[in-house]
Amino acid sequence: MDRPNPLFRNLNSKFAALPMMLIVLVVFVGGTLWTVLFSFTNIKIVPIFSPKEWIDGFVGFANYTRLFNTDRWMNCPIITHIGQSDWKASCTGALPNVATYAVLSVTLSIGLGFLLAVMMDQKIRAEGVFRTIYLYPFALSFIVTGHVWAWIMSPEYGLQHAIREMGWTSFTFDWIADRQMVMYAIVIAGIWQGTGFVMALMLAGLRGIDEDIWKAARVDGIPAWRTYIQIVLPMMRPVMVTTFVIVAAGAVRVYDLVVALTDGGPGIASDVPTRYVYQNFSANLGQSLAASTVMLATMAVVLIPWIRMEFSKKRT
């Protein structure tokens, strides 16, 4: 019997999926590979991929060396000036800035989001009202979020001015104008925008916990707060991992919020990698591509817990 050529099996399906496959191959796989490959060359403006241009322009890790020697990207006196008089235990630059932002905004929004979800889970009145209030900032863009908080935190007219006018004349809240504190100001706006979303995910996770677990804990006389920490929290591991990956992936690529809130200022004190990459496209393409690749590598690290979880799920 003639067996049909497997190439033509489900032909409609293949045909229908073709545009999507092309896009994935050209843009997602191709574009990413292009960026990674050309980060090892000294190209200025490349019209399109050509192997010859890549071989001619190959410079190894030179872009990366230059990138990490650029103060605007990373300047860590703790590493470079160790033992000298200008030694300082702090880093500045786009990469340390995003590290500060990511660590704080992820920890605080997950902590606060979990706390709120637990509180919402106490059979409270008007749950819908509270949920709506916590979640509405997530519908707003980072540009909107940034401009509102820029106005509130403005030292001349905002919160600081208002409280001084009320009589507390020494009150100071000028973080967006302070090089040391500006990243924390961005964290405040970031958790305002994103905590409601964490709360929604966590609440869904809490509601998925079997009611019998609670009954058993109550019978054993375990106080509610210990049940949450020692029983419920470990059971919510998958929700936690998913939330962490989503929130951390968002924090690594923070851009709009910084543009609207501080535009990288004061000076370049709140610069972040996405902004650095974008602003160096024309002047400094090689370094810009190297910085993109560093972001990609960071994202891969963020994804590890999630990939491990997916992997172990399949094996068990």
Binding site: N10, V24, F28, I143, V144, M295
Partner: protein, 299 residues
Amino acid sequence: MANSPTLSGPSGAKPRPFITPQRFVVYSVLIVCAVFFLFPLYIMIITSLKNIQEIQGGNIFVPTMSPTLDAWEKAWNSACTGLYCEGIKVGLWNSIKITVPSTIVSIAVASVTGYSLANWPFKFSEVFFAVLLLANFIPYIVMLYPLVIITSKMGIYSTLPAVILVHTIFGLPVQTLLFRNYFASLPQELFKAARVDGAGYWGIFFQIFVPMATPIFTVSIILQVTGIWNDFLFGVIFAGPTNYPMTVQLNNIVNSATGGKAYNVDMAATILTGLVPLTIYFVSGKYFVRGIAAGAVKG
């Protein structure tokens, strides 16, 4: 008798006080947080109703005694966005022109691809699925320069079609996953019965799957519209100055202030920019939560 229970006090469950210390703590935390989350909205609204003297001399917390819509009028009609002074209404139309086609095209392509992946598996469709999953996490900025090159080669860089194309492309992976997971969760007997009855690829899709997929279409429309509406980066890079969406116009209005900053106009423009996604949020309720949970993985 010695063994009988003493009946000296009232029997039955201990009456619960109306407010226990525990309840007090719970509501205190919830209310304090609610105040924090509502505070910027309050500030936005009262600021937009003030006049410029009240902004420069006044207190950010205190609402105005003589509210005026002047700032709203100015934000809508005559605020300067750098090149010209026609207000944020230009951005609203641009945002609509960008959002509507990108939403329709990406959902059309993604629903068909998701259906293929779920019901008509082919060689490498599992690999393709895994690549889609990872593609969501690649930061946009990594693929941005190649896309600038591609759109320039196509001759559409800095035009409306370019920004629509880019939004369509970046919406696809998450949309496809959404549809694939939804179609995979439908009972497979439906699909098999339709096959036995002789329905083909497109017949099953249009006559059986699409009518059943209203919830997932709702979720993905919410996700796409809010995502594209709130975008800033693609608008700046690919749209070109005459097509800048509302978010970019808002940013320009705030930054192109001449003289003292007109925070009342800025806040009116900010509310106007946030109005579309906020309306979607308030109207769609639980679908919105499902949508953001599904879509939050976008790069």
